[in-house]
């Protein structure tokens, strides 16, 4: 997918300023995890409801920069309705994109807007933070 830089920025900004599913006020059957980076600047909680191997719902809350907040928002929007193997595939592809490894952009949809984040090494962890949380949630569900 090829998007011009302006369009990417607008999508990121839109998700930063009006994040999708921000605010966690959920029932007990949600799995909730905290994710923060080493310098502890970004700090988010992600909660997901997983039933019959499908991510039924996910929400988040926390204090984070534009890249982290928007990436969490886009991630949640992308992963709701996916099966766990589908979600893991998306997460792996996203991580590979950020870490400059081979990845399949056709799996990533709107998440492709972060395909230039690797140019700012100090922002990589910001973009990866929600994905780490989601991996954690999935592994807890699998246990």
């Amino acid at each position: 997918m090829d998007m011009d830089e302006k369009m990417k920025r607008d999508i990121i900004l839109e998700h930063y300023q009006s994040p999708f599913h921000k605010g966690i006020d959920v029932e007990e059957n949600y799995i909730k995890v905290n994710s923060r980076n080493a310098s502890c600047v970004d700090n988010i909680n992600v909660a997901a409801l997983i039933e019959d191997g499908i991510i039924i719902d996910a929400r988040f809350e926390g204090d984070a920069c534009a890249i982290c907040t928007s990436a969490t928002s886009v991630m949640i929007k992308t992963l709701i309705g996916k099966t766990l193997p589908e979600a893991e595939e998306i997460i792996t592809n996203f991580e590979n994109m950020i870490n400059e490894k081979d990845y399949d952009s056709s799996k990533l949809g709107e998440l492709n807007v972060y395909d230039t984040v690797y140019r700012q090494p100090n922002r990589k962890t910001c973009a990866l933070l929600p994905f780490r949380a989601m991996r954690d949630i999935i592994s807890r569900k699998n246990d």
Partner: protein, 398 residues
């Protein structure tokens, strides 16, 4: 001032992160280089020329530190890796054996992690009680309330001289007098003040003082623990090995060296000590009055100009140190810092390792510009100009 002494400034960087670490003047780098290139030797180990020269330098720097902080004896100066190690040595080498369950330690919520976490661990280990001296509305320490908090269980007051987020300067004299009156230990974290303000440990009745050379134009990985001689005598080392023992035998008998050498196990950061000594000379050549006046001039200019910009919140208008803490309204501090980096302006964003201060100021993350002697009014105006372009933040960072 003295910009020619700092070659790194030629890169055009506008460095406002002096609270994290400072640049090093050429003379400090040269002193370190000379040790490595001209007279490398271990300390206290040999009878040959270079080793003797190293020994002499190593001990002379103790004397420089003593004069810097007005300690009574050279032996009261212990070399450490820095502030963090110094505070840990006091907490775990001295207070772990002196304090008992229920004894109270007074801190504040604006302390750096290194003056909170060791106490939390000690609380976990032996059940001391940590109490926080309240802050005023402007987040400075309310030292009028200290005496009300003291009871027969209170044993220690441990505070930063200058805090690293808000930059408020604590009145060491007043707090030291309170400690004397109530017979309390007074521990001072001088990390943010040592290169900026005159510190006098005797006048302020300081029991232990900790600082790092890298925040005062010196090398990284070297710092100081000052302790009153009698206290150091009773303090236990946390590391054991060569250089700190007088003898040991196969039957397990041993004797440690005297203070301060018993705390300096293993080969020390000799280059660091030499560099720190040169940094002390450099600072004293300029003088603390001049440094402080310069920083306050920059801070006052920054406050005056930043106040004219809409949507800038300043958290510490009135503090008497060269630290300005701010946010652009509705912009995450890290985004602001990344934006300023586009203009080659280096500021720190985040919680600055003072994680419990958020309880007080109600905001987790801020941007901090911390000034030092080589910063200029033009640089401050560049920060102001960049922040005036706040509408462009996201164009630059995304």
């Amino acid at each position: 001032m003295n910009r020619d002494d700092f070659p790194i400034l030629n890169s055009g960087v506008i460095y406002f992160d002096n609270g994290a670490t400072t640049f090093k003047p050429k003379c400090v780098v040269e002193a370190v280089k000379a040790y490595y290139e001209d007279y490398t030797a271990n300390a206290h180990r040999g009878d040959y020329d270079n080793s003797l020269r190293v020994d002499k330098m190593y001990e002379e720097v103790r004397n420089k530190v003593r004069n810097l902080i007005n300690a009574e004896k050279d032996e009261e100066i212990v070399y450490t890796k820095g502030t963090t190690e110094s505070i840990n040595m006091v907490v775990f080498g001295y207070l772990a054996k002196k304090l008992k369950k229920g004894d109270e330690v007074l801190l504040s919520k604006s302390e750096h992690a290194s003056n909170v976490l060791p106490w939390i661990i000690l609380q976990e280990k032996i059940g001391i009680v940590i109490k926080y001296i309240p802050l005023r509305e402007d987040f400075s320490l309310n030292d009028d309330l200290i005496e009300d908090m003291i009871n027969e269980k209170t044993k220690v007051i441990s505070l930063a001289h200058v805090t690293n987020v808000i930059g408020d300067v604590r009145n060491l004299q007043k707090i030291g007098d309170i400690c004397k009156k109530h017979n309390l230990l007074f521990i001072v974290d001088a990390a943010q003040s040592i290169g900026h303000l005159k510190v006098d440990v005797q006048e302020c009745n300081v029991s232990f003082l900790a600082f790092s050379a890298h925040k005062m134009l010196g090398p990284t990985g070297i710092g100081v623990l000052y302790g009153k001689y009698d206290l150091l005598k009773e303090m236990d080392p946390l590391t054991y090995g060569g250089g700190m023992n007088a003898f040991f035998e196969a039957d397990c008998s041993y004797e440690l060296k005297d203070v301060p050498w018993k705390f300096e196990a293993g080969t020390q950061n000799i280059a660091g000590v030499i560099g720190m000594g040169r940094a002390i000379d450099y600072i004293l050549e300029i003088g603390f009055d001049k440094i402080h006046q310069h920083e306050m001039k920059l801070k006052n200019l920054a406050i005056q100009e930043l106040k004219k910009i809409p949507n800038i919140k300043i958290y510490n208008e009135k503090t008497e140190s060269g630290i300005v803490t701010f946010n652009i309204d509705k912009v995450f501090s890290q985004d602001t810092a990344v934006f300023l980096n586009r203009f080659k302006i280096a500021v720190r964003s985040g919680n600055h390792c003072a994680k419990i201060l958020k309880d007080e100021i109600g905001i987790t993350n801020t941007c901090r510009a911390s000034f030092y002697l080589y910063n200029t009014e033009e640089e401050v105006m560049a920060l102001v100009a960049a922040l005036k372009r706040q509408d462009e933040v996201y164009d630059h960072i995304i």
